[in-house]
């Protein structure tokens, strides 16, 4: 029996605003992401990549269509069910890091535990997550004391804290210099190949999409290509 995809989208539409101000962001997107895939979502700004990622993660709701993530129909599931899914099985990495400035690195990494029932060994797991991203000695530091790359690594550690099955990354290297960005990409690739974590990465950058097993190109709220050619199209040249 074929294994069910980690992400299954069918005819997903999404618009913002009403009347003349209405903007159609997604126009009937259908997509399957299999377990263990590393998928890059590429496309120009406003093409709907981030919206699609948010819908997959349950941070946003579509106007129509079907969304199934890790076997759960997130449209039919209630808020509590979606929150549980995010807490236990999905990790997010954002371009702006989105760390809480009043918490230490360890506090930021372990914040998902605050919303989890029966969370155990919270500090130990938090420190382990920090160690994995190379910030073992930074647990007492506050985000304001870190560089951009270090902040993003803390954000990745937070995403990994719950040992997620699916990692959703929105422009994870967008605010990083090329060297740090490369380190983050290498880390994602290792995470995918060694731990089998499924990754969906929204990116503008060729170096990110170059490590993806599959590249999905979007334009005007639609998937236009799902191939290596998409990579070339997205970046204006052959892959």
């Amino acid at each position: 029996m074929a294994k069910a995809p980690v992400v299954r989208l069918r005819d997903v539409t999404k618009s913002y605003g009403t009347g003349t101000a209405k903007t159609q962001v997604l126009r009937g997107v259908s997509l399957d992401v299999e377990a263990g895939e590393l998928v890059a979502l590429v496309g120009q700004s406003g093409s709907g990549k981030s919206t699609l990622l948010n819908i997959i993660g349950g941070l946003d709701m579509p106007n129509s269509g079907e969304v199934e993530v890790l076997g759960s129909d997130t449209l039919k599931a209630g808020d509590a069910r979606r929150a549980k899914l995010r807490n236990e099985s999905i990790g997010f990495v954002f371009q702006a890091f989105n760390l809480l400035d009043h918490l230490t690195c360890l506090g930021n990494v372990t914040i998902p535990a605050a919303f989890a029932h029966d969370a155990r060994d919270v500090e130990k797991r938090g420190r382990e997550a920090l160690r994995r991203v190379g910030l073992a000695d930074f647990h007492k530091r506050f985000p304001g004391e870190l560089s951009g790359g270090q902040k993003q690594r803390v954000a990745i550690a937070r995403a990994l804290f719950g040992a997620p099955t699916l990692l959703l990354c929105d422009e994870p290297t967008g605010n990083l210099d090329s060297e740090t960005g490369k380190e983050v990409i290498d880390f994602f690739r290792e995470l995918n190949s060694r731990d089998g974590v499924t990754l969906v990465i929204v990116t503008h950058e060729r170096r990110v999409s170059s490590v993806a097993k599959r590249v999905i190109a979007m334009r005007d709220g639609m998937i236009v290509e799902t191939s290596d050619e998409a990579l070339a199209a997205a970046h204006g040249g052959p892959a």
Partner: protein
């Protein structure tokens, strides 16, 4: 929903990290709760003092005063009237009071001072079961004439009369530390050693003829202070010979030798009202150089020296008012009484005793009519809200009325003042609530990213709502506590100021505030409730915020 422990921890951390917002939000609550607790405690104390002066849980039924050709033609209140009133559905109990219907005068040594006072018109009787203020009153406030075969009711020789005084002071018990002396009136003591000046060995009237008229009673204020008991004794003197008379009865604190029956009888138990004690404290003690008793004079003295400190004589048929004659059937006689306590059920100015004493004396001195007429009937209603119905029935069908109650009028005034203060306090709290709502809306706006992050890592809408409401509740609890503490502090300061700057007046309270548990607990509850209400809409907005939008707007 997130675990409660985590919720509490997060709420506390969030509160501590923005003290500015916190104090901005808590300020209004602080002021509002301070006003709430302060005013309620003040009016609560005012009500308590008022209830001490005018017991409000009962009404008194009286007959309208009617005079015909100078004679009292008022409707008679008798047992039949009591029964009719009792039959009303709104009436719980109906207890008659009977006033002393003829002149009587009191005399007693009090703290070394010889006091004479009028009792007629200032004494009434009531069912002893109606007066149950404390254990001593419960034990002693009863009709002792009904006690049959009392072993202490032995034959005795009463004290000698004083030809210069209508009523002699109540004799003291013999001090235990003193050597036995020959009283000349009590049982014969062993022969005393001869004393220069002839102290007490010549027993005039040793045949027991009390009131032979040969003894001269000297006012003995303070003369007996060295007598161990600390109370005065009657010292009679014939020429240069002093004759002392000590109470010869067993249990002399409670028993005295009755002039008429020549037997030891239990003193008539009486109770005083708090009003009398306050009048003594404020109007009498200072002008007569007598000790003040801030709280409860009677209980204080009884605790210190026993009932002996509170005994006095009543001259039935006598009066201290010059020129006023008594129209009585019987010749005057003396009984002895003892104050057994302070009761809220005592007549406001005067003494109250078991009704059967009054009934018997009225019968003895004034006849049947006086022994069957009540001065008023105290009615306790099952429901105070039925007072108007009862009052109307009294007037329309019985030709009676309720005694004008100053207490009710004062209570109404205090109620209005309390409502006014409450409205002011609640208005402050409402403004504080709006302020909290405003502050929390600002916070929700400022914390969009934080809310988005929490949602992304697994917070539900309910979690976000509870976090915001929890923070609002903390503002309420802390603001409330500070408000309560401020009210306590302000009250303590004002008490101190009043103690040192406002002169004593009747019923001046020790504290002007009564910080009842329900007041401060209510204050805390109100502050928390108002804060949660204030935070409700911002919390709702925070919870409804789409996490993607919250995160995108950074």
């Amino acid at each position: 929903m997130m675990p409660a422990k985590n919720l509490g921890r997060m709420v506390l951390k969030n509160t501590l990290r923005s003290p500015g917002h916190f104090f901005l939000s808590a300020f209004g609550i602080w002021i509002g709760i301070c006003a709430f607790v302060f005013f309620l405690s003040l009016t609560q104390r005012a009500s308590s003092v008022l209830e001490k002066i005018f017991p409000l849980d009962e009404v008194q039924v009286v007959a309208p005063r009617v005079s015909l050709l100078g004679k009292d033609a008022s409707k008679k209140l008798d047992d039949a009237t009591v029964e009719i009133i009792k039959s009303r559905p709104e009436v719980g109990t109906a207890v008659p009071r009977m006033g002393l219907a003829f002149p009587a005068a009191g005399r007693g040594d009090f703290e070394g001072t010889d006091l004479k006072f009028e009792v007629g018109g200032f004494a009434d009787g009531v069912d002893p079961n109606y007066v149950r203020d404390d254990d001593r009153i419960k034990e002693l406030f009863r009709d002792w004439e009904l006690v049959k075969d009392d072993p202490k009711s032995i034959a005795c020789i009463p004290p000698p009369r004083d030809p210069r005084e209508d009523i002699i002071q109540s004799p003291a018990k013999k001090p235990e530390a003193e050597k036995p002396r020959d009283s000349g009136w009590g049982p014969p003591p062993p022969p005393p050693p001869p004393e220069p000046g002839g102290s007490g060995s010549d027993a005039t009237g040793s045949d027991g003829s009390a009131g032979s008229g040969s003894a001269v009673a000297a006012g003995s204020a303070g003369s007996g202070s060295g007598a161990g008991s600390g109370t005065a004794v009657v010292i009679s003197q014939i020429g240069r010979k002093k004759i002392e008379y000590w109470n010869p009865c067993p249990d002399p604190d409670r028993y005295y030798c009755d002039d008429t029956e020549r037997r030891c009888k239990h003193r008539v138990p009486v109770v005083l009202s708090a009003t009398v004690v306050e009048l003594y404290n404020n109007q009498f003690a200072k002008s007569h150089g007598m000790p003040m008793a801030d709280k409860n004079l009677v209980n204080l003295l009884i605790q210190q020296r026993g009932l002996s400190a509170m005994r006095f004589s009543i001259g039935l048929g006598h009066t201290t008012i010059a020129g006023s004659g008594s129209i009585t059937k019987t010749r005057p006689r003396r009984v002895e009484a003892v104050v057994v306590g302070v009761s809220s059920r005592a007549m406001p100015v005067g003494v109250t005793m078991p009704i059967e004493y009054i009934r018997r004396w009225n019968q003895e001195y004034m006849g049947d009519e006086a022994a069957t007429s009540y001065s008023s009937i105290i009615v306790t209603l099952k429901d105070r809200n039925r007072l108007a119905v009862f009052s109307q029935w009294l007037v329309d069908e019985q030709g009676l009325r309720l005694e004008d109650s100053l207490g009710e009028r004062f209570a109404t005034v205090i109620f209005v003042i309390r409502v006014l203060f409450l409205i002011i306090s609640i208005a402050i709290l409402l403004i504080a609530m709006i302020n909290i709502g405003h502050n929390f809306f600002i916070q929700v706006s400022e914390r969009r990213r934080e809310i988005g992050i929490m949602r992304a890592v697994g917070a539900t809408q309910m979690d976000v709502r509870l976090i915001m409401l929890g923070e609002a509740a903390i503002v309420g609890i802390v603001g409330g506590f500070i408000g309560i503490a401020s009210a306590f502090g302000l009250g303590t300061f004002l008490d101190w100021y009043a103690e040192n700057n406002i002169p004593r007046f009747p019923f001046k309270p020790d504290s002007w505030f009564e910080f009842k548990t329900w007041i401060w607990a209510g204050g805390l509850m109100f502050s928390t409730l108002f804060c949660i209400l204030g935070g409700f809409l911002p919390a709702r907005r925070a919870a409804k915020m789409e996490p993607a939008q919250a995160l995108a707007q950074n």
